[in-house]
């Protein structure tokens, strides 16, 4: 039965895992995602899931187990964070290259050095060219909803591409929230039966998987691998709509908050978008025409859709919880700015890096951003295209 439950982000993911009951779950514990792995282990110990739980000696092996298991022909998931995702890095490309529909919950955490266990997006942003679909969550409810949808997207026959669902370390993973947990059977029905495609376990169909390509085939194979992610936008959209029809919470590529008559816009992903909404409400009550655009899907990046939503703004601030050393700006900013390039009339745009290593971002910080946007809109000039929020210098 559908019910309201008080869960933190990790428990919300675990609850979805219990309901979906994947065939193989392979994961290595790492803060702040450990509780997901522990909860799965307990589910298994208590007979609440029937899948095989494998607890390997490293994240590299966890992803290797996932790759072997998915190739064998069944539904597979993992969970990790930060250094763990980095250790998987080599295997992320292979999972995508072999077109395996693995689903991963990534509890976003900063990258060492210095070592820090708190939330930022450096881990998944570092993996943005690995071929995985990336979906980000604002809160526990979205983490739960996104994780359920991820299987439908990954396993769709036109897509067959791994999907990761991000949720912010500690800020979401360890914060309690009342969320709507849907009925077990309804979730199972929504996710559906797994459809194996070229399973190794069908030994009557002898196969060579993962052969070596030289210069004569590699390029064509890499090109054909892209078809999965290229085919994914209508699937992501349809699954988000169907989820809405079934459970009442519809999802698209991004969320627009008070954007109807907005002239200034703040773009921010994940948990900070919640705080930003409060700031927008305050600014609106002061008569300021500020709105929020919260990207949900980062890969495939919805360039056109976001550009259409932003093109008439006077000024836009893109906030990244990640830096991109030596680049023109942080990842979200460069994607959005590039998407706006083809428009003759386009907004002034500025990039702020915030919240690295879990540094707090508050309503007042968003209000400062809004006042800077007002100034940019007024003068038509961006003095500093790239700067930091809440940083001691």
């Amino acid at each position: 039965m559908s019910a309201l439950k008080t869960l933190n982000g990790n428990q919300s993911i675990a609850e979805a895992v219990r309901q979906i009951d994947p065939d193989v779950l392979a994961a290595y514990p790492i803060t702040p995602s450990t509780a997901i792995v522990e909860t799965i282990a307990k589910f298994k110990a208590d007979g609440m899931i029937t899948g095989e739980f494998v607890c390997p000696e490293s994240e590299h092996s966890a992803m290797s187990v996932c790759i072997g298991a998915a190739s064998a022909g069944g539904r597979v998931m993992t969970a990790t964070a930060s250094q763990g995702l980095a250790l998987m890095w080599e295997m992320l490309y292979i999972a995508a290259g072999l077109r395996l529909p693995i689903v991963a919950a990534i509890v976003n955490r900063s990258m060492s050095a210095p070592i820090n266990i708190h939330g930022d997006h450096s881990d998944t942003m570092g993996a943005r060219d690995s071929g995985w679909i990336q979906i980000y969550s604002e809160n526990c409810q979205e983490a739960y909803d996104n994780f359920i949808q991820a299987f439908r997207i990954a396993e769709h026959l036109d897509v067959r591409t791994p999907v990761l669902v991000g949720l912010d370390g500690f800020i979401i993973s360890h914060s309690m929230e009342v969320i709507q947990v849907e009925d077990d059977d309804e979730v199972k029905k929504f996710v559906g039966e797994y459809m194996p495609l070229y399973p190794l376990l069908d030994t009557s169909n002898k196969m060579t998987v993962g052969p070596i390509d030289f210069t004569d085939y590699y390029f064509e194979h890499k090109r054909s691998q892209l078809e999965g992610i290229e085919n994914s936008p209508p699937v992501i959209e349809a699954v988000g709509k169907e989820f809405g029809q079934k459970f009442g919470r519809e999802y698209g590529f991004f969320e627009e908050y008070r954007m109807d008559d907005a002239e200034l816009c703040i773009v921010v992903m994940s948990s900070a978008a919640g705080t930003c909404k409060d700031a927008i409400d305050e600014l609106r009550s002061e008569g300021k025409k500020v709105g929020l655009l919260k990207p949900r899907v980062f890969r495939p990046f919805p360039h056109k859709k976001i550009a259409e939503a932003l093109k008439e703004m006077k000024a836009v601030a893109v906030l990244d919880r990640c830096s991109s050393p030596g680049a023109f700006g942080a990842p979200l900013f460069t994607e959005i700015r590039s998407g706006l390039y083809d428009y003759a009339e386009r907004p002034r745009i500025v990039n702020y890096v915030y919240g690295l290593g879990g540094r707090d971002i508050k309503v007042e910080h968003f209000k400062e951003v809004a006042s800077k946007l007002e100034k940019i809109a007024e003068t038509g000039t961006v003095e500093e295209i790239y700067s930091y929020i809440n940083l001691r210098e």
């Binding site: 029937t50 030994t203 030289f214």
Partner: protein, 308 residues
């Protein structure tokens, strides 16, 4: 024990047309091992000679189900395949009576070095798999760099002999012993030069429930630099000098499978191989002595272990 005639009449699972070197020990090893069960086998093959030489797209030499994902993870990849087999059997999505053998395969680079952690984890977790290391003492696929299986004094491209160096300064890692320390049901050292012994060990490894590990000596004319027509003789010399003892450890119990009537000096093993040529210069005599001493000590220790 199957007769050679019966084995020869079995369908090949590794078929001709691959690109392995003339005189390479790898096909010899796998033609024997892949006949040691009649059940279907799924292989996860680490990056290396066997993988590269058999699967240059669009061709394959595998008349069976085979997969490659990366260099250091053949063990964890096959563990994943086995886990899915168990899951789907339990969920009733594959028939209860469907038997499959799961085989992880890698060279010494993939097994002794970069993949040791994944192998250790996989056998510790007790997956019902067999792992075969074909040990040709070097990173042969990439031109003969040293591995931790490269013997003392061998000249390898990253431990070359030179005016100031007698080749590799360190002794080999004893990987078989490391696997024994995992207390898994079956660990063995074998050689394709003794095909019956290798066949029996592979058969036992496939039949035993739980993880089994075979370390198989593999001649490599390209990197060892010997007359490639003499590979099987050289393999016999490895046994007669006790450089590569044949033994097995079944549920903790050691058994030596071959004892030379008269133990030969290691010189007979070293001399035909170009990788040891420099050891016969006067200034490197100490390496020869050290090599002999280590082989003697290891053989003595193994004989003691086999008493219990």
């Amino acid at each position: 024990m199957a007769k050679l005639k019966d084995l020869a009449s079995m369908e090949d699972r590794l078929v001709p047309g691959h690109g392995m070197c003339l005189g390479c020990g790898i096909p010899l090893i796998f033609k024997i091992i892949l006949r040691a069960t009649e059940d279907p086998i799924i292989i996860a093959n680490a990056t290396g000679c066997l993988e590269v030489c058999t699967t240059i797209f669009p061709r394959t030499s595998w008349n069976m189900t085979w997969m490659h994902s990366a260099f250091e993870n053949a063990a964890s990849t096959i563990a994943g395949v086995e886990a899915m087999y168990k899951a789907l059997k339990m969920k009733g999505r594959i028939p209860q009576d469907k038997k499959i053998k799961f085989l992880g395969v890698g060279g010494d680079g993939a097994t002794y070095d970069i993949g040791l952690q994944a192998l250790s984890g996989t056998v510790e977790r007790g997956h019902d798999i067999v792992y075969i290391c074909y040990d040709n003492n070097a990173y042969a696929n990439t031109g003969g760099q040293r591995s931790s299986a490269t013997p003392l004094g061998a000249s390898a491209s990253t431990s070359p002999a030179g005016t100031q160096s007698p080749g590799k300064l360190q002794r080999r890692k004893d990987l078989t012993k490391i696997l024994v320390a995992h207390n898994i049901p079956y660990v063995a050292q074998a050689s394709p030069g003794r095909w019956k012994d290798l066949y029996n060990k592979a058969k036992k490894a496939f039949e035993i429930e739980g993880p089994a590990f075979l370390n198989v000596l593999c001649v490599c004319p390209t990197e060892w630099k010997y007359d490639e027509s003499q590979g099987v003789r050289l393999l016999q010399t490895a046994l007669d000098t006790c450089v590569w003892p044949l033994y097995e450890v079944e549920n903790g119990k050691y058994k030596i499978n071959y004892k030379p009537k008269e133990k030969k000096p290691v010189l007979e093993w070293l001399k035909p191989q170009g990788r040891f040529r420099h050891l016969f210069k006067e200034e490197n005599t100490w390496v020869l002595e050290k090599f002999q001493k280590q082989v003697d000590e290891d053989w003595e220790e193994l004989n003691k272990l086999a008493l219990y």
